[in-house]
Symmetry: C2
Subunit: 437 residues, 2 copies
């Protein structure tokens, strides 16, 4: 077997066998196969695609490239969730405490990505004292004690994905569903959960713009999960406007807490509850959606879910008082109101661009080692279809450095489309994909 | 401009602009663009192809990546030739002395490739004393004195091609006509000739198997030549059996000399004369093909062409007596007759595999620094359509080391297909492509 032959085989439109895929992943991780051969193969895959079987084989080869976590020391069904990412998408910090409050077990490992804001790890780290660096024994204990924990990935979790993702991002080979599915599912499988709920985002704030692509990706990932013995369900949810109000690390924690406090309604809460219901379902803790929502409503109104959040914060060294008083989160020096220049309806949002504005204010990172300012970001005050008058506030900018403020303001105003007609409001959940589909 | 955007543009099916192509070639040669990005772009080009304009732009960017040779110090029209390569294809050593004998001027630079035998440089170096390492001043003087010279490429002739070719050969991106055309034509343009004759081989001994691909490649190269002000003509010639009898370095020199001595007929002579006629045509030295053949026949029968070969050998330090006595060429220790096991007609030859047998005997190189044995190789004794009986000699193997002899013999016998029907004999010249086509 030789990598050049494997490249030619895929280039010429043939499906690769499990042995060939293993040879590629093993060789690439060991450094026997060069980046330039891997990128040629990735581009050939981009053009000729991989079928289901190849995608599963790729996922398994990637999973086995490093640590595979054993969660059997934690009793019960361990359920994981994954979102493909969007703007103001802090569902994890709402959904997972709710699931824990209803008896679910969530031992979640997260990575640090590049993006408009930090990832879930960065959001959690905006809570004073909280550490996401827990050893395996502590991780197990925290989940056993309070039902859930989120920690940073071990350094050797799917090293093949780290290498491949870095390569894909600079060689024009990111947007292929098989490569995306293998990247996500290899990490989910290596993380050791028994059941998986996926939140596949679609719309102009997601990296998958079209609902049909999102549905194909969701089916692919659900099939991989089910084929490898995990109960797996995917929701396809809308990202044609920021999901919640907050775009920024501490701001998103605040919004999640306010939802669990019962003080805050909206699409973020709706999607978080829908995901929580699916997680209870695949965990076998509820018979149907009605029972799930009954239990979740009780967990919310009783304050048990908020308490689960406080418990986890405390067990990971953070200050649980944040759940009563979000004022102890890092606060930006200035809060500036960004107002509408015209009258009309909010008919469109360039969601990705709104995320970029938060990035410009310092909420996210472009390069791996960029610092993040946990306090800054923006808080949306309008949603699609809202009627606004000139001078009405569109968003609050939470600002520390004024360096990029003018640019962020100007780009934000362009990103919020205001016109004479309200436009159509998209469905929040576009679809649901299960193993039988 | 960024290379990732250029990769995405080509991947998404758009034509690249001259500026983008220059940016790629400049950046890649400087090392600013990584191999893994170049290989991804090459694979995207393989899938989405390049149009004529892009191919010409790529050729010019590659030409300008290093030395561009100035031949204006040599009077007259300088004409170059190039063969895309085949088995027993030593046309240069017949064609060019003939052209020089008829008043043409050929200042040819050659590279050393990998293959069944060495390239033209290796063949010339089998002549005792001859050196292909001549300085520019000597090169000009030799061409002015005897009408022709062949030397090794300067180290900095189209460095972009050296880097790209090495990358293409290990990333499954060799067989794309735009990349092949740019590779060949950038070197032809950088070598400084005023007119170019191309010999595009097609058949199972050429790397372009199908005549339609060969024709497309020929048109592309002729267009590039004409667009850049070079009279350019291509012949498409057959490579479904070894062109001459000899496969091996000194053996091919011997065959070329025997043709110029008037002692040897066959397809190699026919193609060599056809190429020589085209070279006289594009040099403006003859009015038509009839005049060309008249002059060439005179040059051959008078011995002037053989004398031009002897002159060049002497001017480059070699022993010109070789033109009278080929016995002074390196001789293999053993000559072994390979015989037919059956009666029948030679109905097919696996030409590439016959080349591999010469390689196994030590005539060629697989890696850049492999040694070549100038004496060894094989001498074909049959051609397609020949009637043979069991025990008839199919070829003579010229052997020094017996290491691979058994394998070479067994593979050779399989490569020569003998059956009850003679099969069809292919045309020797499949086509002729000029700028007007």
């Amino acid at each position: 077997m030789h990598i050049t032959e494997i490249i030619l085989k895929k280039r010429n439109g043939k499906a690769l066998g499990r042995g060939e895929i293993d040879y590629f992943i093993d060789g690439y991780c060991r450094g026997d196969i060069a980046d330039y051969q891997a990128s040629a193969l990735l581009m050939a895959i981009w053009f000729n695609k991989m079928d289901r079987r190849e995608t599963t084989d790729l996922t398994l080869a990637m999973r086995d490239s490093g640590d595979v976590i054993d969660l059997s020391g934690i009793s019960g069904i361990k359920v994981d969730k994954h979102s493909t990412g969007g703007v103001a998408d802090t569902t994890s910090l709402v959904t997972i405490p709710l699931v824990a409050a209803c008896g679910g077990r969530v031992a979640k490992m997260s990575g640090r990505g590049l993006g408009h804001t930090g990832g879930t790890l960065d959001k959690l780290e905006s809570i004073p004292g909280l550490s996401v660096s827990q050893g395996m024994a502590d991780f197990h204990r925290i989940v056993s004690d309070c039902g859930w924990s989120i920690i940073g990935q071990t350094a050797d979790l799917v090293p093949a994905d780290k290498k491949l993702y870095a390569l894909r991002s600079v060689t024009g080979t990111v947007d292929n569903n098989s490569l995306i599915a293998a990247s996500i599912m290899s990490k989910k499988l290596a993380s050791g959960a028994d059941a998986i709920v996926l939140d596949v985002k679609t719309g102009n704030g997601a990296f998958i713009q079209h609902a049909t692509d999102a549905e194909e990706l969701a089916k692919l990932m659900v099939d991989i999960g089910e084929e490898t013995g995990r109960r797996t369900i995917a929701l396809i949810s809308d990202m044609s406007q920021p999901l919640g109000n907050a775009v920024g690390n501490a701001l998103e924690v605040r919004e999640a807490i306010e939802i669990l406090q019962g003080k805050h309604e909206g699409d973020l809460k709706t999607v978080a509850l829908a995901l929580a219901a699916e997680m209870l379902g695949v965990s076998g803790l509820v018979a149907d959606t009605a029972e799930a929502h009954e239990k979740l409503t009780a967990a919310l109104t009783s304050g048990v879910a908020l308490q689960r959040l406080a418990d986890m914060i405390q067990l990971q060294g953070g200050d649980p008082d944040v759940c009563r008083n979000t004022g102890i989160l890092p606060q930006a020096g200035d809060v500036m109101e960004i107002t509408s220049d015209t009258d009309g309806y909010v008919h469109s949002m360039m969601t990705d661009e709104i995320g970029n504005c938060a990035l410009l204010l310092g909420a996210g990172r472009l390069a791996k080692d960029d610092p993040i300012d946990p306090a800054v970001g923006l808080w949306m005050r309008v949603r699609l279809g809202d009627r606004v008058s000139a001078g009405d506030v569109l968003a609050d900018f939470h600002v520390n450095q004024r360096k990029n403020l003018a640019e962020a303001t100007s780009r934000f105003k362009k990103a919020v489309g205001i016109g004479p007609e309200p436009g159509t409001s998209p469905d929040l959940i576009h679809g649901r994909v299960t193993g039988g589909d």
